[in-house]
Amino acid sequence: MNYPVWQLDTAGGGLLIAAIAVFHVYISHFAVGGGLFLVVTEMKGYREKSAAILDYTHRHAKFFLLTSMVLGGMTGVGIWFTISLLTPAATSTLIHNFVFGWAIEWLFFVGEIVALFIYYYTFGRMNRRDHLRVGWLYFLFAWLSLFVINGIIGCMLTPGKWLTSQNFWDGFFNPTFWPALALRTTLALMLAGLFGFVTATTLKEDGLRERMVRYCALWLLAPFAFFLASAYWYAAALPQPLYAHIFQRAPELAAYVRTFLTLSPILFAGGLLMAIRLPGRVKKPLAAAMLLLGLVYMGSFEFIREGGRRPYIIYDHTYSTSIAKADVARLQEEGFLNTARWIKNRKVDDTNRLAAGREVYNNLCLPCHSIGGPMHDILPLTAHDTPLSLDAKLRGMGRADTYMPPFAGNDDDRAALTAFILQGLQHRPLEPPAAPAALTPVAAEAPSPFDAATDGYVLLAWAEFGLNEATDADHLFGLLPAANRLNAQLIRRGETPELVRDGVALAFTIGDQSGTLPPTDSEALYSTQVTPLSPYPTPDTYQPYPVVTVEARDKATNQLLATTKTVLPVITELGCKNCHGGPWRVAGQTGLSDVTARNILAAHDRLSRTDLLARAKAGKPAACRECHADPRFTAPGDPARLNLSAAIHGFHAPYTEGHAGAAACHLCHGTDPQGASRAFRGIHHAAGLDCSNCHGTMADNAISLLQPEVEAGKTEAVRLLGHLTTATTSPDEIRPRRPWLNEPDCLTCHQAFGPPETDSAFNAWNEEEATLYRNRSDESGILRCAACHNSAHALYPAENPSQAQRDNLVPRQYQNSPYPMGADRGCPVCHIEPMDTEMHHANSLRMMRNR
């Protein structure tokens, strides 16, 4: 941002440095190892009194001279030119800190050139002793130049103490200096052999050719074990987040690591093959092939090293975008277009949004993402993005993932960039938001009959989960199965009503399904898990609130004692497609399509190195809870990984930051008040509350879930937590909670069961599973809270989007009102007579407050 950006587009993303650098590094390592090769081979010639070997050495020296001088030296300058053009700011940092390193390296280059000229041009004329001395001096100068540049390059990857001390020697002798030096030195020796093949295979005399080719093979093979040991040492010397990033996380590096590991035995085998007696016309192309193989091998190492350093150009100091880590917060606050130096469009409006977006792109994206070129081409990467998904990616980058920098700009910068990418590059109009998709209204469901004068029983039934979601792409992956628990309690009416514990059989029917509700151990609760549960009465209609009918019969006589109906929700309106693309599966308003599901799996495979998509395609789809513990289904998962809720919320929280409060929840859960399901529909919704009143914001929620995982020592939780900021409470004040087990509680606001004292129930969790609202009973210990008040998110009186009174079937049946059981002093529903003791809970003997 301090310097102008070279607008490269197709050749962008670092293509030029990759091309020049890999080529130069290959030749320059040969220029080091080849020097030792020359002097040792010359000594071999003297020792064996072989004029032929000396002649070969002389010829090889010419090849060496031309290659290292013309190609090696010039491309070295080429690297310097290229980095100054692509990342002048980082180049300036390195130059101003390590100028004397480079100056000293230059001295060694001068010595190298003089030595090599003299070595070659006096070959055969200078006496042996002196000529070898010159040769050794060449190798010494060459290796010393490697020594110096190794220090500077290593500092870019593992700066170690230099970050704080700014001391030259701390930077030079950084954590990977010695292993990298070992690696490069052994590689230089191997390359000497590889390049030696080129000249050795051209020898005319068969015997000599075989001997010299075999000799070169020795140079390739002998250091191999040391080379691999150095590589192992190098990897081990990497500080932990960098090691994890390279070998466990960064999606693109997996291919380069694989290439390196695959080519190692191939190169070794190639060396062995070269040692076998074969005709010259076979050996020559083989030598060329080996040379090419060596280039790819070296290239894979360099790509691992360079790619591993991302998103930094100087690790932990300067990003690849030339933005200093220390400046990011300020840029996010003040804006990039406002602050950067070489900007024409500082103030963005409709007349210059695309031009401003182009400037943001050039500075913050082009260093890694070409436009239509081979390096991380932005066009396919954003081909399916929408303004919402692209904005989300720009917020989550560098926080949810480890290989990109965080976006160094504010909302205006993000909007300009989004416009540039979607309109300017993808030529798509910025779509207006989709029109709301309402549920098709249905006819009112009549409650079951009840005669207050004659009926002896009250049957209460409710769904365990009022907001119950299901992913309906089980053939691809299983996140949330389509299931809900149906609960019921049967009350024998009387002045002292009783819960019926035995002698009765409860059964249910829903759609074509039927089953029984067996009694449970506690408080005469009858309960069963109803699965599968389908929101699709026909393949293209969506009814997330199917009605279930429950009947209680005398076991002995089969006489029907009571019947009731309630809603058993199953909501498939999950908003994954908002970011992961794809259409709705059903009726244009709900359901997880195959496209979306596959995109999700592909993203997971990329970021976490899994093979979920392949498994799904092979007909063996995975369920998330196989790895990620899920208390809802008592799935233990893999204890080393985050639990499912912590993983999902912790990972996605940065992406959703553009949506304040409950809007973030609506992105994924079927709670969007403009959506089809509108699942948050009970009394609290009518009172004007939203998800965040009880559950906190997305970030708050994520922090509360991540904290126990941090305490359990999971490094991923620490990493994710580090990227979350919360506006409402300081992270230290947020209390840890386990998903499904520690939830917000009614009594936080409704102290002593009274009217609410506050409207925030966030950060006060129940202690354990038994004390959850859905598992609790009243003060008498008899009736479940939810039996009278209904499940959370659909508390009576609820307003259902498909038909207003659909959720309130139970109270309407017994009380002719949608309010909680016993409201408006309706004790006679069960007690026959009016009551005057608040036995169930304080404040229960009063008129309904919310009409």
Binding site: N2, Y3, P4, W6, L8, L16, L66, M69, V70, L71, M74, T75, V77, G78, W80, F81, T82, S84, L85, P88, A89, T91, S92, T93, I95, H96, N97, V99, F100, G101, W102, A103, I104, W106, L107, F108, F109, V110, G111, I113, V114, A115, F117, I118, Y121, T122, R125, M126, N127, D130, H131, V134, L137, S165, Q166, F168, R341, W342, K344, N362
Partner: protein
């Protein structure tokens, strides 16, 4: 747009700026002399080929024997001043480089072409026959182009007020063609190369005369003649260059800065003296005075650069870092001496080897 806002903030320097100034001047002069010899001998040899088609004039043989060394050392000696230039003026140089990025990067490709061709010319001189001239074109033309690119970059870096053209041309294709000093400055460098090239060839002939006494005197005379004519032309180009300067810079050079005016005057005197010595066939004194003149001119050039940048920056403005590196500076000088000693040792061994063969 105020051009000063486009000048990037410089980084801190590890030791006082005077050290870098000294090292820049020292290494730049070395580079200049070798680069001039390289380009100049190439041009002279090419011109000689063109006037003696198919032949093998001695001057060309001399050039063939030295061209690859000259290129290697011209590039190598160019590395050091470029390094120190970036330390002192990086914020200007990186910027101008980006503005003309494709041209700047082309230097690398052109250099490889010129250098490879020089090896062909050098190693295959005899067998090439009449093809020599064509191959030498592949050396000289790219080098002339490189010189032009350098002239553009080194002048563009002095004109922040033209940098705003970047916003209309951000793809690295700009040059500094509208600057009146570009052409005279470039010609100044090329003609200087011819002069130094001639002097260099004369020197080579002198040191090889025991091999070839009959022609040595002729070659020395040829070399000196090229030098003299080029230097006289140089006076006219110099005047053109001076006249093309913006008024404030010209005023600075001609009196505003007593130091600059003195150095400039001494350079002109030096040039004329050298020409006089050349006409008298006094080779070594000519070389001595010429080298001195080049040093003086390099100093004038540096002062001129500072005059251009004065509204924006002076190297004295650079802050020295908290962590200074005087120890490393000392280490550099120690290693400089050690490397020099080693080089001298190796050159001695080579000289012995050459003598023994004879």
């Amino acid at each position: 747009m105020d051009p000063a806002t486009l000048v990037p903030t410089p980084d801190t320097i590890p030791v006082a700026w005077g050290w870098f100034q000294f090292l820049l001047m020292l290494t730049f002069v070395l580079h200049l002399l070798v680069m001039n010899a390289m380009l100049g001998s190439g041009i002279i040899a090419l011109a000689t080929h063109l006037t003696h088609p198919g032949g093998s004039p001695a001057i060309c043989r001399l050039t063939a024997g030295k061209l690859t060394y000259l290129i290697a050392f011209a590039v190598n000696f160019g590395v050091a001043p470029l390094l120190f230039l970036q330390v002192l003026y990086g914020q200007f140089l990186y910027t101008s480089s980006v503005l003309m990025a494709w041209h700047w990067l082309a230097v690398v490709g052109l250099l490889i072409l010129a250098y490879a061709s020089a090896y062909v010319y050098s190693h295959n001189y005899k067998p090439l026959g009449s093809g020599r001239c064509g191959v030498l074109w592949l050396v000289v033309a790219p080098l002339l182009l490189i010189g032009f690119i350098f002239s553009n970059n080194m002048t563009l870096m002095l004109h922040p007020e033209t940098w705003r053209h970047y916003f209309d041309h951000p793809t690295g294709t700009l040059l500094n063609l509208s600057d009146p000093i570009l052409i005279p400055g470039y010609l100044h460098a090329v003609v200087a190369s011819v002069a130094i090239g001639g002097l260099f060839l004369a020197l080579v002939a002198r040191f090889q005369r025991h091999d070839n006494t009959r022609n040595a005197e002729k070659q020395i005379a040829t070399g000196l003649r090229w030098f003299s004519i080029a230097t006289l032309v140089q006076l006219w180009i110099g005047a053109w260059l001076l006249g093309a300067q913006p008024d404030p810079v010209r005023a600075f050079l001609l009196g505003g800065s007593p130091l600059a005016a003195t150095l400039l005057a001494l350079s002109v005197v030096g040039g004329l003296t050298a020409v006089g010595l050349a006409f008298s066939h006094k080779l070594l004194p000519t070389v001595g005075v010429t080298v001195l003149t080049v040093v003086l001119m390099a100093l004038v050039r540096d002062l001129m650069r500072r005059a251009y940048l004065a509204p924006y920056f002076s190297p004295a403005d650079l802050s020295v870092a908290q962590q200074t590196q005087y120890g490393l500076l000392a280490l550099f000088f120690v290693l400089l001496l050690a490397t020099l000693a080693t080089i001298i040792y190796m050159l001695r061994l080579a000289a012995v080897a050459n003598r023994e063969v004879r």
